[in-house]
């Protein structure tokens, strides 16, 4: 299976190993951050559409406080 790399085995394996680790790390980090940001966006959008669906109770509670100061 493993090709005979001769006396340079360490160098070749190191080069391939380091490259693959770096690439895999980059891909993994990109995907993970993508998933996180996406999940966060979904919760925020869900919250917004929930607030939009039933305006009376939910928004008055939050807006009332703001209005008192700024009014």
């Amino acid at each position: 299976m493993m090709p005979d790399l001769g006396k340079y085995a360490v160098a070749v394996l190191l080069a391939y190993g380091a490259s693959l680790v770096l690439l895999a790390g980059l891909v993994w980090a990109s995907i993970r951050r993508g998933a996180r940001v996406r999940a966060q966006l979904h919760t925020i959008e869900a919250r917004r559409s929930a607030a939009a669906a039933q305006p009376p109770a939910a928004t008055d509670a939050t807006q009332g406080k703001g209005a008192r100061v700024h009014g």
């Binding site: 391939y16 770096l22 940001v37």
Partner: protein
């Protein structure tokens, strides 16, 4: 309908979402086949021995390192001139990918240098200019991170990318002053004066295609993430104002 349509984030999200698997899967396939071919199925070079196999990661990474900066330069210009947010975010998304490519080229080169030149590192012009390129990537990324306002950050990094490109070329020229260096030219030949054999060329091309597709896939993915992060920021800000 013009290409600038896709500078609209919503349209970009739709298109890139559809496109992503069509780039990612071929990228994975090309990389897998190319690297396996290069690593397992190529013969040793009569002079370099098995180290010649390093070329299949070293050269594609080096190419993409330069191309990524070039892409950032183009997208920065588009942002500065036409102010398409997606363009700026694509530049931001590409920078870490380019930096990793540069790092891979540097590391594989260093590992290659140890058996070939007897040293991990030499201040050879090409190597040096890559190190400087890496520094440019670091500075560019740090500037993005340091500026809180996204639009300001996009403007500043674009200006830096522009000015930095000029100085990167100048440095490349300046380091040539020392000597012509140990490093091979861009002749696609393993040993000077000798055309590279097809046995190496084919897997090398395949790896190049793989790296390029991987770059595109990662940039698409990361740009989508950046756009969503911007939307989160905008929605939260709007929520606070309510």
């Amino acid at each position: 309908m013009s290409i600038w349509e896709y500078a609209n984030p919503v349209k970009f999200m739709r298109l890139s979402g559809a496109l992503l698997p069509w780039v990612a899967i071929p990228a994975a396939a090309a990389l897998a086949v190319g690297l396996v071919w290069g690593f397992f199925l190529t013969p040793d070079d009569f002079r370099q021995g098995s180290t010649v196999k390093i070329i299949f990661v070293h050269v594609p990474a080096a190419l993409m390192a330069v191309n990524a900066w070039f892409m950032m330069l183009v997208t920065s210009l588009i942002w500065l001139i036409r102010r398409h947010h997606v363009s700026a975010l694509a530049a931001r998304a590409a920078a870490p990918v380019g930096a990793v490519m540069t790092l891979i080229a540097l590391i594989t080169g260093a590992v290659w240098g140890q058996p070939m030149w007897g040293t991990w590192w030499a201040w050879d012009p090409r190597l040096t200019s890559f190190l400087i390129l890496f520094l440019f990537y670091l500075g560019y990324i740090a500037l993005w991170e340091a500026v809180p306002d996204p639009e300001t950050a996009a403007d500043l990094t674009s200006v830096l990318c522009l000015v930095g490109s000029v100085f990167a070329v100048l440095s490349r020229y300046a380091v040539n002053f020392w000597n012509q260096g140990l490093h091979q030219g861009a002749s696609l030949s393993v040993a000077p004066g000798e055309r590279m054999d097809m046995t190496y060329k084919l897997p090398l091309y395949l790896c190049m295609v793989g790296f390029a597709l991987l770059f595109v896939a990662l940039v698409l993915l990361r740009t989508r993430t950046e756009i969503r992060a911007r939307r989160i920021k905008a929605l939260l800000a709007r929520e606070r104002m309510a």
